[in-house]
Structure formats: C-alpha cells, structure tokens
Amino acid sequence: MEEKILEVNFGPQHPSTHGVLRLKVKLNGETVLSAEPIIGYLHRNAEKLSEFNYYASNLIFMDRLDYVGNHNMELGYVLAVEKLAGIDVPERAIWLRMLFAELNRIASHLVWAGTMGLDLGMITPFFYAFRERERILQLFEMVSGARLTYNYISIGGVYNDLPNEFDEKFKEFVNDFPARLNELKSLFEKNEIFIQRMKGIGILPPEVAKSYSITGPVLRASGVNYDIRKISPYLYYDKVDFEIPISHGMDNYARFEVRFKEMEQSLKIAKQVYEKLPPGEYQNSLYKKSGLINIKGAGESYVRTESPRGEFGVYVVGDGSKKPYRVRIRSPAFHNLSAVNEMVKGLKIADLIATLSTLDPVFGEVDR
C-alpha cells in the first residue's frame, strides 16, 4: 500500500505558531516528513520605512521588530547610529541601558517559558511566568512610561533618570525572583512527561547550526560557546562578571536548560549593574532638546548586540544627511527558524510544535 502523504498547512492562524508562521508540513500518519516554513505575513519592511525618517524617529520601527525583547532592539539601532555619527554617551546612561537590557532579557525569556508550557499542554506555567513578567513591566513603566514599546533610549543617552520609588521596587523584585524562578522551573524540570517530550527531540548538531549562522540560546544549547557579550563586549559587559550557560544536549531539553540558566545570569548582571550606577549626566546635552533632529552621519557602521534570541545587528549606511540612506537589520530569529526543516524530519506532530516553541521565534523580527 503506497504511502499516503497528507499535506497540512499549520497555517498563519494556528494556536501555537508564535505569531504568523505558515508551516507547509508533509505528514505520513503522525510522522512529519518535511516542514517548510513560509514567512512574510507580518512583513512591514521597516528597512524601507526608516529611510524616510530622521535618525531619532526610527526608534519606533526598531521597537516593533522583536516586540518581546524591544529594549535590546532599540539598543542595537542606537549604538549603530552613535558609532556612525560619532556621538559619545555619558557614563550613567551606558549603565542604565545595560540594566534594562538585562531586565528585558528576563522578561522575554519569561514569555518564552509561558508559551512553551502552553504548547506542551500545560496551562499553569503561563500564569506564573506572566506574573513575574508583570513586575518587570512595572519597573519599565516607572522609568520610561510605557509597558511594551519603551522608547527609553535616546540617541546620546536615555530620556529620563530613575525615579526615587524605583529603588525599593527593584530591590523587592530582585530579592524574591530567584525563588519564583525555581518554582517555575520545578514545574518543568523533573516532570517525567516533560522530559519524555523534550529529551532527544529537535536535534541541532553544531555544524548545521554554524552553517545556518544560528546564534543565541539555540546555538549555545548545541555546545558552541558564542555570546556577543563575551566575545566582542559592547556597553560595559567586560566590567561585569557572569558566565555563559552552555549545554551539549543539542535537543529541546538543552535549549530549555540554557534559557533558564540565562535568566539567573541576567539577574546577577542586573544586580551588579545596579550597584555600579555612577551619579551624573544621563543624556548627552548636545542632542537634548531640539538637537535630536540634526543628527547627521556619513559612511557605514555595523554593531552586534546579544538580543534574547541571538545576535541582533544593525548595519546603517549614512550619506551625511539627517536621514539614513540604508538601514539593514540582522534578525537572529530569522536564522533560527530557517533550520526548522533539518531539526524536524521524522518527528511527530507534537514534537514539531515542541521544537518550534523552544526555537522561540518572534515574527515581528523574522518578517521585519
């Protein structure tokens, strides 16, 4: 009896595709023969849009790329523009940017932990993860005024300083987050059904990862020790000590472990940064009020930062005018997703969904 291939569209509208991804899946019964991702449903071409605006007002397009880790997105763009236009940033602003980059990484990993639980059929971890994320969002709203699209970084520093009630809320969050994190982890870690669903599934060998130029937790779970914060430190990551969690498991369970350890490391960095916050100016006075408009830059510059999903880079080409000539965005989730076909051959439908959830793609960034 020749094989009956069932071609199913895990279409743009599906409960667990983390956004608008369409997977053209060829099924033989329950086993997946091939899964070809089709993207482009959330394509707004932020690169073309940012050619019509001033340097400072492109921030809102960068926010809406990876709408879960958006502080890191703004950071990548602003660092690239500052290097292009040669703007120096006061000391305190750099430390503040680092503090919120790490808090944003924790918030993004918490969203991943919640949605991974949902994809495997567990309902409760979503609520515990979002309860913790809510406290981080409150910290952001206290400082920048918004919960998701922060626009906290200005070119040349940050827009406003920490309010005085920030200190007490931050200490409170930092003190009881480790206990809550272990509680969330214990829901997954030793659970036999969870281990059965995640161990040995979605194998990504290091050579395939390197050839698909995959970065971030997905790469570190395949045993490659590569993190931009250590290899080419930007901001003050060389003045802070932290380790890079690595696992040689190459499967979903390894990616799960790497991300949870990364949250602990990010908290450790945030604590150290908070102690090292120097007093003083938080925004370069040249570009304070009406200086925002006349930022000019010629030549080209590419800056690499470590966003929660991998290496996020912005390549800006300036022609000396007040508007960028070309902005090119390197989005890590775009490459993490391109390796789905290799990782999923021969698995079951349930494993396809589990592997997709540990790749943690966000489609604002994949489709740009």
Partner: protein, 150 residues
C-alpha cells in the same frame, strides 16, 4: 581578485572584490577561519547595487567585510558555502532584485509571488498601491485595481 582594500569607520577591514571572483574570495576567507556568515545586505547606490558580506568566526571576534558591486543584478550564489545564504539571497532577490545563479529555489521570501517591482530599490514607485488576494486554488493574486482587494 581584490580591487580595493581599506578600513571602515568602525575599524573593521573591508575588501572590494571583482564580481567574477566572488566565490573564490569567499571560499579562501572561509578557509582562513571566517566560518560565520553574519550578514548579507544589499545597498542600492542608484548607478550600481553593492552586496556587502559581513563575515565573522565562531571562536574569536575577528570580523571582515567583503563588498561586491554589480550593475546588471546577477551574481553567483554562495549557498554551497553556507546554509544561511539560502534565505539571505532569497531576501535580497525579493527586496532588491539581484538574481543569484545556482540558488536551489530563488523565490520571493516575504512578498507574494506576483508582486511587481522590488521595494528596497531607490527607483521603486511608492505611490502605486498593489492589492493581494487569494485565488481559488490558494495561490496569490496581485493586482493594481482595488476591486480584487477584499
């Protein structure tokens, strides 16, 4: 064959390469240890299109930029060297219109199949609106008059 060499503003070395010897240059760079294709981007300088390869390596922070210029928008594809080049080149073809010979399936990656023009070109006409709809058999129908749009 390297036409020009130099250092960029942010300190990274860059080389400008002949269009015909693109693949050999990429190949010996890869053998020199640049095994990580960070980014492939295309910039439209009106007279010519410039494709910029950012190469790095997974075990240290060396970085090099390789540029190649083309007027007639045809280049050799570097998919044999890196798997990532597959989606990079499809995106550059989709948004900038540069065809890569030897690419397994050079189709548009973001825009629907029948889209007219390549948006990231400087001469792309932004005023003409294109409407996308789905035909009976599920493929995309791109047209200029708004009636086909829903």
């Amino acid at each position: 064959m390297i036409i020009e060499e130099g250092v960029l503003k942010d300190g990274t070395k860059y080389i400008l390469v002949e269009k015909s010897t693109l693949i050999e240059e990429l190949n010996n760079l890869k053998n020199q240890g640049y095994d990580y294709l960070i980014l492939m981007s295309a910039v439209d300088y009106k007279k010519y299109r410039e494709v910029v390869y950012h190469l790095g390596s997974y075990n240290d922070n060396r970085k090099i930029v390789l540029k190649v210029r083309t007027e007639d928008d045809i280049l050799q594809s570097s998919t044999p060297l890196w798997g990532a080049a597959n989606w990079f080149e499809r995106e550059i073809y989709d948004l900038m219109g540069i065809k890569f010979e030897g690419h397994p399936n050079l189709k548009r990656i973001f825009l629907p199949e029948g889209w007219h023009g390549h948006p990231l070109r400087k001469d792309y006409d932004m005023s003409k609106k294109q409407y996308v709809n789905m035909k009976e058999d599920g493929t995309d129908l791109v047209s200029f008059n708004p009636e086909d749009g829903w």
